[in-house]
């Protein structure tokens, strides 16, 4: 971690969640449309409901730690979303929270660990592998880019930007894939040619994270 790097605070995370909620609300119809093509047309609705619940619950929390923020989001998602996205994102946030319990702020390597823990949770829950055309296809390259950045001593701002880029590339790379997990798998070969909705909402999360860190004063 470069000394110049300012750690990520709970306030920063609250901003991430608030902005992600706004991004999801804005892209609700888009995510529904992606899901309509190869799923059941609810991914945008599900995440929108869940993120609104997360923001509402966070508003009721006083002076949280980073882990508190992540855990509140996790429980909101688990109890309000349902579908595949609820437990998957919920588990990701829960594992992310557990990875940094008690820490008042997160260093760059903490952040990379948080992301890795989220991905590990996602995979533990959903059993998807890279290339199955799921969220994992955005998370996996995103997390790896963050970890590489930490190893290379890049700043948090920089490696999160890399991670967001990588997640977006992973998202785009789902287009030609034939799905092997989730509802899209029912389509067989017909799932190819469509971008995975979960990978899309995941790439959005990585982008929000990078942007918030980038815009910190």
């Amino acid at each position: 971690m470069p000394d110049s790097d300012v750690p990520m605070t709970a306030q920063d995370l609250l901003r991430v969640i608030a902005d992600y909620q706004a991004v999801i609300a804005e892209n609700r119809a888009y995510l529904i449309e992606l899901d309509a093509a190869i799923g059941d047309a609810d991914h945008g609705e599900n995440l929108d409901r869940g993120m609104k619940a997360a923001v509402t619950r966070l508003a009721e929390t006083d002076t949280p730690t980073p882990a508190d923020v992540l855990k509140t989001v996790a429980t909101a998602l688990i109890s309000k979303v349902g579908g595949a996205a609820g437990p998957l994102y919920g588990t990701a946030f829960l594992r992310a929270a557990n990875a940094v319990t008690g820490k008042p702020e997160l260093t760059g390597s903490d952040v990379a660990e948080v992301l890795r823990a989220g991905l590990t949770g996602l995979v533990a829950r959903g059993k998807a592998e890279p290339g199955d055309k799921t969220m994992v296809d955005a998370w996996e390259p995103g997390v790896r880019a963050a970890e590489r950045g930490v190893e290379q001593g890049r700043s948090m701002r920089d490696f999160l930007a890399d991670a967001a880029d990588a997640a977006e590339q992973g998202m785009l790379a789902t287009i030609p894939l034939v799905a092997r997990k989730g509802r899209a798998s029912y389509l067989g070969d017909r799932s190819a040619g469509h971008q995975d909705p979960g990978a899309t909402s995941s790439a959005m999360l990585f982008r929000v994270l990078a942007t918030v860190v980038d815009h910190r004063v």
Binding site: I38, D40, A41, D42, E45, I78, G83, G86, P87, R190
Partner: protein, 333 residues
């Protein structure tokens, strides 16, 4: 989007309220979290039978709550699995200390949310067993995929397991029975029209005037292939062939034949299909001993149908015939 609703965001709640008001003798409806339980829940001395999943498949599952079938139904938003705490609340409302069996249709979301609910229940020392239904032959099954979907076979499992629970079977034997039903039931569906998820506001897919979608599930999703529309008999044969070959069903088998409408299919068409399905099976020496025809496992207003075939043994047949008193299925007393 043309629907008799007030608002996409309240449609499920409004319908549940109406369901409760229309069937006060059979059910109690709980809101926030949403679940439906038998009017006399929890019923002492029996294992509770619970099923759930996204809304939009009515009468599944709430229409099957009542004596002889389900103790509880847990409806999520349209086409979205309910959440773990919602399922857990329903378990608590029906469990009578002999345990609860959870019938779960095989969708990633459903499986994950029911799994978590089961963990919550176990943490409170409530015995639960989750059994997954995956009868849809349109989906290729493999260790590396999400596997087959649960579709029409679900109703048959709910009826048979519900009847056994009513007679006092214990949790372990109910789970075994449920797995036996699932192992002997196969389904395949098709659509003439798509459906519109209320919050999406437009149809999930488009179909030409002379096209049909084969191998659909029950979530308004596109199917495995799109073909030119065919006469009813050809469609029936197209659906039945993979159903029969998959198990496989063979000469001498005794079966229950279930012709299910997708929600917007008139009975006339379902009976046209039924007539031919029974004939095709007879030609293969497969005997139909019980029948169900109607819109039972639906995708909102979609037009289309699925055909489900269950190989019966004496116990299943007896349990199918046992009395049932629910909004959507009723016989005996």
């Amino acid at each position: 989007m043309k629907k008799i609703i007030n608002d996409p965001s309240t449609a499920v709640d409004d319908a549940l309220a109406g369901f409760g008001a229309a069937h006060p003798d059979l059910v109690q409806v709980h809101h926030d979290p949403n679940y439906v339980v038998r009017a006399d829940a929890p019923v002492r001395g029996k294992v509770a039978v619970l099923a759930g999943g996204g809304s939009g498949h009515e009468p599944l599952h709430a229409g099957f709550v009542g004596p002889g079938m389900l103790d509880a139904a847990v409806p999520g938003p349209v086409f979205t699995s309910p959440t773990p705490d919602q399922i857990f609340a329903a378990i608590q409302a029906v469990d009578a200390s002999l345990g609860t069996i959870l019938l779960v249709k095989n969708y990633t979301g459903d499986v994950l949310n029911f799994e978590t609910a089961a963990e919550l229940a176990a943490a409170e020392d409530i015995e639960v067993e989750a059994v997954v239904i995956d009868d849809d032959v349109a989906v290729r099954d493999s260790l590396y995929t999400a596997g087959r979907r649960g579709v029409g076979g679900t109703v048959l499992a709910e009826k048979i397991v519900g009847a056994a629970a009513e007679r006092g079977a214990d949790l372990a034997s109910l789970a075994t029975l449920c797995r036996r039903v699932n192992a002997n039931v196969r389904s395949m569906g098709m659509a003439l029209t798509p459906c519109t998820v209320p919050h999406a506001g437009k149809p999930t897919f488009e179909l030409g005037d002379n096209e049909m979608e084969i191998g659909i599930g029950i979530h308004g999703e596109p199917g495995r292939e799109r073909l030119p529309l065919e006469p009813a008999n050809a469609i029936v044969e197209r659906l039945l062939a993979p159903v029969v070959e998959d198990l496989p069903f063979g000469s001498g088998d005794r079966t229950l034949l279930f012709v299910n409408g997708m929600g917007g299919t008139p009975l006339m068409e379902l009976y046209v299909a039924y007539a031919h399905a029974e004939k095709v099976l007879a030609q293969r020496g497969i005997g139909v001993e019980r029948r169900l025809v109607g819109n039972y496992v639906t995708s909102l207003e979609m037009q289309g149908m699925s055909i489900t075939l269950l190989r019966l043994d004496d116990e299943m047949l007896d349990l199918w015939d046992a009395p049932v008193q629910t909004a959507a299925l009723r016989w005996g007393r």
